[in-house]
Symmetry: none
Subunit: 225 residues, 4 copies
């Protein structure tokens, strides 16, 4: 429910002391969301967890929603950043290898704080878009698009942007699902996600140098059906 006030932070803290307090609020909120969920994330609890008073909290954020908004912004910005970095760092390698790197990072993040990720996702939808959010999202999609173009995807099928988004949703869906169901081995998840992405692209993970079935990929015998 969007409040009347904007969800932008009240003051951008420059001094390190302020910066610390600011970050403490965000981290406290993240911890509460992770451990007790959205309902437990009230301003008093956040302030207490951050080791400050409610009054101080309101000196940095105009309201509770703004804390959530900033948390989402940071999370999305970090993802965008990480993705771009990884895409750049793996330039020259083959597609499967590069995807594996990206998926590895995504899985790691989700498995670190599954509930937080899920809650922020819900909040992102509930709070409504925001310039910064849209920008981060664009960067994320752009990174994947760049990757696809580097491997010749633009030649066929739906627009690259659509394909990039689909890949992101596939990965997100599978990773969320796995963590929700309680899977414990990130490597297994990772392998299956990469398999799914390559499958979606119509590329069998041939170049990976190992049997496709080893961990993730699979084949369905063409039978009666």
């Amino acid at each position: 429910m969007p409040r009347r006030r904007a969800n932008d932070p009240r003051k951008t803290p420059r001094q390190s002391r302020s910066r610390d307090t600011y970050d403490a609020v965000l981290e406290a909120t993240a911890r509460i969301l992770e451990t007790k969920g959205l309902e437990a994330a009230n301003t008093n609890a956040i302030a207490e967890r951050a080791g400050i008073s409610v009054g101080s909290l309101y000196q940095y954020f105009p309201g509770k929603q703004a804390i959530f908004a900033e948390l989402i912004r940071r999370s999305d910005a970090a993802t965008a950043e990480g993705l771009a970095t990884l895409v750049a760092a793996t330039a020259g390698q083959d597609l499967a290898t590069r995807l594996r790197a990206l998926v590895h990072a995504a899985v790691a993040q989700q498995f670190a704080r599954p509930r937080l990720a899920r809650t922020l996702e819900y909040l992102e939808a509930a709070l409504g878009a925001d310039e910064a959010l849209v920008a981060a999202d664009e960067r994320i999609v752009a990174s994947v698009e760049a990757l696809l173009r580097a491997h010749g995807h633009e030649l066929a099928g739906p627009p690259t942007k659509v394909v990039a988004r689909d890949m992101l949703w596939i990965a997100k869906g599978m990773i969320d699902g796995a963590s929700f169901v309680g899977e414990t081995d990130p490597a297994q998840v990772e392998a299956r996600v990469v398999g799914a992405l390559l499958g979606y692209l119509g590329v069998r993970g041939a170049g990976s140098g190992r049997a496709p079935d080893a961990r993730g990929a699979r084949t369905v015998r063409a039978r009666s059906g």
Copy 2:
């Protein structure tokens, strides 16, 4: 404020009058979730929308959470039911066709009430599992497993159950994403999802009788990377 009481409905109403009231509460809740979101779904609003008094509401449900829980249960049960029916109804057809049928139904449901679906999903995670929920989930997975087995999947790769789950998460991720981003053409989404699922299974949609790139599938040229 989540009470310790169970989330089971207070009584399973047999009489049709009671049944109507009970359903009215659920439908009212669904409508509010869809149109105004979780924050607006308070017991007073629900009762009013359902055309009854709060007191009556509490005659059928032990608390607000129980209404949500039942909504989720029904939604999941309906999905399980529908899936099983579709799988049975399409017996003998080829895999791609059968998947297309399933995905079609899933897309239709999500596009009908996107916000409701997303909110229930969040609530399902926030409220925690529940016998009935687990049961429904099992049935859903089982339907897909059956489908896979019918087409010879059990022979290779990860356990069929894991594959089934992955497929469900892939579909859910893509469909949610598409509706979130505001895609308007269900057919497009459907085609891409089917493509992704077949790709994941290592089956190129050859049997579908039309060019794979037409709507959903795509190929990546093997290049340098």
Copy 3:
């Protein structure tokens, strides 16, 4: 500070039970304003004094300001009503006598709850006008206008309406002042106010049958100045 919500009561209570609660809130507020002042009139205190819970208070009023607004409305309506009644009841009597009756009532009201009257006055200005308030004010002025016309005022000087307003302000100023300074004899105040009003109208209280100086009126010898 006008709140976002309107200052109209939430529901106009028809049943006597509700009506009682509604009135209890208003009376409690009046009592607190009279005895402890505006700062002490918080919703918790009001509810407690009214013998109800805060929740109930909010079932009848959308907010604190609305309680004040209604209090003002009632006070102004009562004044308008009383004035109109008195003017009608004294028809046929001479002007001085009629004014005396009006002033008598005004003094009585102010002396009954001086602080309440003053606070409501402040709030009326702070809250800003309101249809009902304006209407009551019109009726009040109209009563005095009628009185003036009945005694032939319309023939000379500023518009009757302006004169009527002046008279009201004169009376209000003097009565407030007297009660503020702590005067204890209402009769004295009353006599002086009547004298001032007649003097303003250019009518010496000749017809009153007693020496003008007896209690209120006075004469200044025309001397050097």
Copy 4:
């Protein structure tokens, strides 16, 4: 929240720098009261408007109430001063002329900052009397008393002090009222107030050299009533 501390300023600043800061606080408060009202006059806003820090504010005033108190004191002192000066300056002129001068000043002040005047009045009543306030009030009344005595009022009617007070309240009532109702022409108001005062004193404004009805005074035909 009224603390128990006295409302006296913390220190009477002698140095001009301190004096400036002190005055800046008072002026800032006055401006806020005038433009945004009492609710907006919080210490942070005052300090900001005064161009100082809250800390500094508390170096000069023991609390918020003390600022208001000093503002009232100054306002009343200025009124007392102005009145005394005007009375002295107009010595030898006739009563109507002298009253006109006083009323002119009063109207000018009220029309300059109507909301401020009204709010201070409310605060004066709410905060309760204070030595300095009482002293200023005595001086104000004394000025009017002196005026009356100079024109022979002491010979008849209620004590001169009472008459003086009445005159002050009449003027205040009318002027406040006029500004509240939104009258825009100070001259009109002025004329009517002078008329009312002379009428109260039993003096028709004969000496003023113009028709009494022209602007302010009026006559009521002695009719039946």
